[in-house]
Symmetry: C2
Subunit: 276 residues, 2 copies
């Protein structure tokens, strides 16, 4: 058992999350999305239904701390082509996460490829920057679970030279060598630093709502990932993520709405395209 | 009262939907998303909470027919900055829609604009194509509710010359002159023909899961809209939509996963970028 599989193990609807998955004091939202997806799969397994998530949406209601998490599930539909379950993750009396996931047969829904985005050209992982573990990243214990190599062209923010372009690219995989699978994709989709780091906004960017699609079963090996934002408006921004596997196939994509505190100079530093 | 406001009127948690909103036999999903968002707003109003939707996600469980729709609501959070309610729309014993919506104070969250996508250059509405009402569009009574002017450059599919580029642009507004507001944005986000029409796939494209963000309160007048897809894989595709108001402000955006039956020639007709 890897530490990721440990975290996703539900016994009588309860999981125990170690403090190895935190960002600051709170458990990483991506891990909670994978855990909730696993709980939904378990609920559908009990009615002999689909086991591959193809779409999910998550609302973050309250931060979760390390410790026990309770998953309550409801099967909303067990259909021929698609099945849907809803999951609430709670700690004590507090609901932390509401999650709806739709499942199907992914093998029947990932071929043929009519159109797909090409993966970005990235320098070899060996020459990309491993995620820093000093300074502001000290409390991000989550980073010990990941092997993340950010494209040096998109990491100027770490050197005080934010590119202000709203794009970051990276190689990513589990640090312990566990291979990616469909249940890990919700986790990876939210594993990179917030794309608003590229504007020099180096604070936490709490996710308000997250939605993701799983498009194909990932092959073993490195994943490639790109995150972008095009609209940073009044303290909210969307972050789009897309992940390719080692074959170059699109395996997952997501869009989230999150909060950001932009630097004081950003209004003149970043011009809206329409006024440029 | 306009016909859109009529459709969104809930009395004791029940709404009556006329057959004016159908595509084929089923009530348009966008109308159901606006109706569910209205039901969520009503539930939050009862606890004196936020009234502006900023994010929502919708899973379509079964088609809805014209007639009575029942909305059951649950307030998941009534917070200082954000509030969330969940809504189930049902007909008889059948749950048709599960919808989660997060609300906030939109005026406090739509200024300043740090970064936003520029609206597309479109020919004047007068020289754009009104949505056709013959042929396959005969049963889309929804089109009578809309004034939609599709950019001629993106409407080759209607002339048997699909551009195969996964992009469509249009002006859009209510046919009866009702001005856009935040509650109408979920409806508009799903009002255009499926973007897969641009591949010559002129069939219905059933939405599996839909998520949207409201970014700003729309000014009166025409809305501009762009829909795109970049990944059409094994009968599923994502459709991203973005809407600007008459001032050129981004007011809403969305991503959905939907199903499509691609034409038999599409595998060779449309090349994946990576193999191009």
């Amino acid at each position: 058992m890897t530490e990721f599989d440990d975290a996703l193990t539900l016994t009588d609807g309860r999981a125990d999350l170690t403090d190895g998955w935190v960002i600051g004091e709170a458990v990483n939202g991506g891990l909670l999305m994978s855990l909730a997806t696993k709980a939904a799969a378990d609920a559908l397994s009990a009615v002999d239904s689909h086991q591959d998530p193809v779409a999910f949406s998550t609302t973050f209601l309250a931060a979760a701390q390390p410790g026990q998490v309770r998953a309550e599930t409801q099967v909303l539909r067990a259909g021929r082509s698609f099945s849907t379950a809803e999951v609430t993750l709670s700690q004590g009396d507090v609901a932390c996460v509401r999650h709806t996931a739709t499942f199907a047969d992914l093998d029947a829904n990932s071929e043929p490829v009519h159109l797909q985005e090409a993966p970005p050209e990235l320098p070899d992982p060996e020459v990309c920057a491993p995620a820093a573990r000093g300074g502001f990243a000290e409390k991000i214990r989550l980073l010990d679970r990941l092997d993340m190599r950010i494209d040096p062209l998109t990491v100027g923010w770490a050197l005080g030279q934010p590119a202000r372009d709203g794009e970051m690219r990276a190689w990513i995989r589990f640090a312990d060598g566990r291979e990616p699978d469909v249940l890990s994709l919700p986790f990876f989709l939210d594993a990179m630093p917030p794309v608003t780091f590229t504007f020099g906004a180096l604070g936490w960017a709490p996710t308000i709502a997250f939605s993701g699609h799983v498009r194909s079963r990932p092959a073993p090996g490195w994943l490639r990932m790109r995150i972008t934002t095009r609209n940073v408006i009044g303290g909210l921004f969307e972050e789009d993520a897309i992940i390719w596997d080692s074959r170059g196939h699109v395996v997952a994509q997501s869009r989230q709405l999150a909060g950001v505190r932009m630097p004081a100079d950003s209004e003149r530093g970043t011009r809206a395209p329409e006024s440029a």
